[in-house]
Symmetry: C2
Subunit: 445 residues, 2 copies
Amino acid sequence: MPDTAEKQACDLLIEAPWVLPVAPENVALADHAVAVSEGIIVAIGPSQALKQQFAAEEHVVVTDGILTPGLINAHTHAAMSLLRGCGEDLPLQSWLNERIWPLEGKLVDSEFVRTGTALGVAEMLASGTTTFSDMYFFPEVCAEVARNAGMRVQLAFPLFDGANAWSESIDDCFSKGLELHDRYRDDPQVIVAFGPHAPYTVNRKALEKIQMLSEEINLGIHIHLHENAAEVAEARSLNGVSWVEYLADMGFLSPQLQAVHMTQLTEREIELTATNGVHVIHCPHSNLKLASGLCPTTALREAGVNLAIGTDGAACNNTLDVLQEARTASLLAKHDAGRADAGCVRDTLEMATLGGARAIGMETSLGSIEPGKRADLAVFEPTGFATLPLLDPFASLLHGAPSYRASHVWVDGRAVVRSGALTNIDTQALRRDVEQQAERVRAAL
Amino acid sequence: MPDTAEKQACDLLIEAPWVLPVAPENVALADHAVAVSEGIIVAIGPSQALKQQFAAEEHVVVTDGILTPGLINAHTHAAMSLLRGCGEDLPLQSWLNERIWPLEGKLVDSEFVRTGTALGVAEMLASGTTTFSDMYFFPEVCAEVARNAGMRVQLAFPLFDGANAWSESIDDCFSKGLELHDRYRDDPQVIVAFGPHAPYTVNRKALEKIQMLSEEINLGIHIHLHENAAEVAEARSLNGVSWVEYLADMGFLSPQLQAVHMTQLTEREIELTATNGVHVIHCPHSNLKLASGLCPTTALREAGVNLAIGTDGAACNNTLDVLQEARTASLLAKHDAGRADAGCVRDTLEMATLGGARAIGMETSLGSIEPGKRADLAVFEPTGFATLPLLDPFASLLHGAPSYRASHVWVDGRAVVRSGALTNIDTQALRRDVEQQAERVRAAL
């Protein structure tokens, strides 16, 4: 056994009974460890070997639990956490027109967004998510909240025709969003992308501008697409083609595009999605809750499309828990494909991690536990009896999701959750702020 | 304010910020309390009033949480908890023929059932379930385990053609099962029912005998029915009619019948189910995981059918958590009906409580918080941020299920869970027993 002097220094060494690295091989590694230096994963290997190789500043020994890449929530509206439970069991059109939009009109300002985002960030970190893609008003507030909490965010800054609480016009959206891009250009914690709401709320000229700018400055585009049948039918009656076809005709489909929802796809649309390298963000709870239809994940996967998982906002979920979402994604895939071997646990964990990283263009630095990648990591600790016996760590984690809690979470190697407690968030102050905003919501209902 | 002397004595008074009684009105009651004497609910009312009315032996004040009737798991095979994760992502026929049945052939004996049932019971109590309906070999062992843990059980004793580890023949099943009925005739904690596995594994003469005996001695019948399309197609090719029609022709459909799964139903079969008062047990996770199809809960409800919720066994779920199952039932109902107002939260909570009580013929004593009913109760305490803000207690509990834990659970007014800890189960010994059986499972895989 070598002396400490001969060991390589590192900041953090995490040992766990099970490590699921997702890549390069999506396998379960027993009794493995991960070494981290300056926020970067420097090694992964058997615990015994790594303990001999490294002298770590901090040594975390997980006695019972599973270490995974931090989860990636590829689509949410974090601030809408304040509207959780405000419009239950309403049909989609009433939900939007009579509940959500009027409430947003009355309530949304920068403080609403600050508190709502903080609530969403707290929930996501505490459930093992290290990166989220957010699309909401006041994205500059979201960026601040995420950075302060030590969380990574893709800001898909909103672009809509017309005015809203955040911007006077779609031109104003462009200038505010591009200012954000400038501000966070060198910050690996904040990734900026275009967030055109949907092809039916953004005029064609603006879409063309987004497409051009996206190519020029290499920014992603995050858009709601084919969320439900009514929207597709409307496209056909307006344009003679579906929205996917409309965007394909414009040359809008590309590997920069993150298409959210994508229920209601024809074979040809699946092919267009695949050949153009479009990423699909699957939001199963939201699609079920709003009766939007199902995203054909198995057909998309077989066509070669990269898939990621999003929780959507809490008003149509009602949680931002990516692991629960992944469980439902796996179950729905089996149902939708009519095959119990579809939606397998390994593919689903990949969707919730590396798939999300690919979608936001960060697959070289996020989404798996590989040397050279950023140390965004989560430990899931079993909390009850539903994890016993542990015969298959993938299935135990995914299908036993309600019985795991994220006990330790790191972003860039910095602990954001320790023993289940959030390290950067004053949770008492957060609860007070939430209650204050909740009073506004109740008054507006 | 009256003196203690003027107050009415009771054993237990539980105050909670929210009480969801399910019946007589399925509403949310703020700041209510429930009084219990000799295992029976004696009053429900505003906390202030009940504190003045009752002098309680034990006074439980829930500062943050929701009090509901104990959940009812209307279909499981608790002992299969030991096979959790043993056959992931296999198509149904391989799952059964190549994995589950061979494993059961090698492993199942009374000790396997004792440990597996104890594991299932521990998980169910800890997640707020107070009654479960079990269908597995060695039901006499299940009865002992449940009674020792203070949990209520419906033993649907298995009836199969052919021999198995528990019985030599179907005649042997009858005699062993009826012996159980005799033994537990006066025990409100153990309800005995016939558990014919399925119409395709039980010969017609035996089904006729079950039907006759069920009427004579007033026992329920619990059966797997129309679990998937292949089974129904086989029925049509064998008998020219589906299994539901086959049983209807026999006069087997009645309010005694608990039909489990019931995916693949024609309009006529829904009508037969409704007019004959058959109860339907919906197992959404199992149906999704095995790609069996969906139970048309909205059409059944509209036809007047009583619906209950079951988790099925852990090998096809992988948890026995009724609240999670109810969440999925609500979401799937919206998808299946194509309407976001289907599967509403109140109806779904009723399915998970009073619906289950009706199915097992216990609606006069279980399933709601009403004076005169048995005090089977659960407190769900929020554990994280996904429960904030609380705008709708039904939605918060159901759709925020992963963020609630059952902190206190009572069966017949006796605490089976206190502050999240199981009162009657030696959890260390249970973990040891589970690990011992898990070694057998691993060796047999």
